[in-house]
């Protein structure tokens, strides 16, 4: 016969299976409820903890919602001007090649204003990691159209939906940089379900590990939600993301060990 176990019996140090990593600070994140940024931050922090590289890691924050990322990760960080994070990271990594260096950028930062810096850092094969959060919208400035906004998708600057004839096509920059000789590992992930979180974390780990090989740039795109910008509840937004974002931005590895997986 099993005896009744109370919550008090379970909530003990020896039974702990999951706790927030100490690489995250105690600051409460400013993100909207359900925003994928928080999960992505936490996964990066967990990988840093697991690899024991907190003293060796330097992160570069973008301009956008995650501009204040340095408030949440307990590592040395630099805040870049809009779109310029890969330029900062290039210098940081070249001056300190034994350190682990990453940028964390949104779609506006990485795929619009910072396109040149992104493509050239990738093409030069700089040995750092880019974390690219793609939610198809400018979150911080209030929901304007991004380079990754889907066709027909509404935003405050495409209020009738993105008319590709007038506003141009969404840019699949991840597929684009995967084709460059300087990228070594390119993958697209998501963080809205436990399964996806586990996969995304594995990808983040692989990206950091590949810095040790000095074979080129690793880029992890995380397709994420923007509840406020999409004007939905967090759960609805995740559903909308699965139904609309994933068909256009399919999840999975795009380039492994310097080789494109799906040559069209």
């Amino acid at each position: 016969m099993t005896k009744n176990i109370t919550a008090d019996d379970i909530v003990k140090e020896e039974n702990l299976v999951y706790k927030k990593t100490p690489v995250l600070t105690d600051n409460v994140m400013h993100y909207c409820p359900g925003c994928g940024h928080g999960t992505a931050h936490r996964l990066i922090a967990e990988v840093i903890e697991e690899m024991n590289i907190q003293p060796e890691t330097i992160g570069i924050t973008p301009v956008g919602c995650s501009v204040l990322m340095y408030n949440y990760l307990d590592i040395d960080m630099q805040g870049a001007a809009h779109g310029r994070a890969p330029a900062l990271a290039t210098a940081v990594k070249r001056l300190m090649p034994e350190k682990f260096v990453f940028t964390y950028q949104g779609d506006g930062d990485l795929a619009a204003i910072g396109t040149a810096e992104t493509i050239h850092a990738c093409n030069r094969g700089e040995n750092f990691t880019i974390f690219f959060i793609n939610n198809g919208i400018y979150g911080m400035t209030g929901g304007q159209m991004a380079p990754t906004t889907l066709p027909e998708m509404r935003s405050s600057t495409s209020p009738y939906g993105r008319d590709v004839k007038m506003m141009g096509n969404p840019l699949k920059i991840t597929e684009l940089v995967a084709r460059l000789p300087g990228t070594y590992y390119v993958t697209r992930q998501a963080v809205h379900t436990p399964v996806n979180v586990r996969k995304a974390k594995k990808a983040i780990r692989q990206a950091f590990e590949s810095q040790k090989l000095k074979k080129g740039l690793s880029l992890v795109e995380i397709v994420s939600n923007c509840n406020s910008g999409w004007k939905m509840s967090p759960v609805q937004a995740n559903k909308w993301m699965v139904e609309n974002m994933f068909p256009f931005y399919p999840l999975g590895d795009i380039k492994l060990e310097g080789r494109l997986l799906n040559k069209e």
Binding site: T2, Y18, L24, G34, G38, S233
Partner: protein, 75 residues
């Protein structure tokens, strides 16, 4: 009956009530409270604590890292 039993502690004051954990829970343990925390959010709590298996799915999808998970094997 599951062979393990779990429990979660939610940092109520820092929970933003996004409900992502509610959807992620495989055993339907979590609900959002009727009452709100200091920031006005309906925080997550264990509505069916006996069903918790300590899988940590709720914690790993929590964007704010407010869930701590414990698990114990049944004797």
């Amino acid at each position: 009956m599951a062979k393990v039993k779990g429990s979660i502690i939610v940092d109520r004051e820092n929970c933003k009530g996004c409900e992502v954990c509610v959807v992620a829970c495989p055993t339907d343990v979590i609900r959002l409270a009727r009452e709100v925390n200091g920031k006005g959010y309906h925080f997550a709590y264990m509505e069916n604590p006996d069903a918790c298996i300590g899988c940590a799915n709720c914690a790993i999808v929590c964007p704010d890292g407010v869930i701590t998970v414990y698990k114990k094997k049944k004797v």
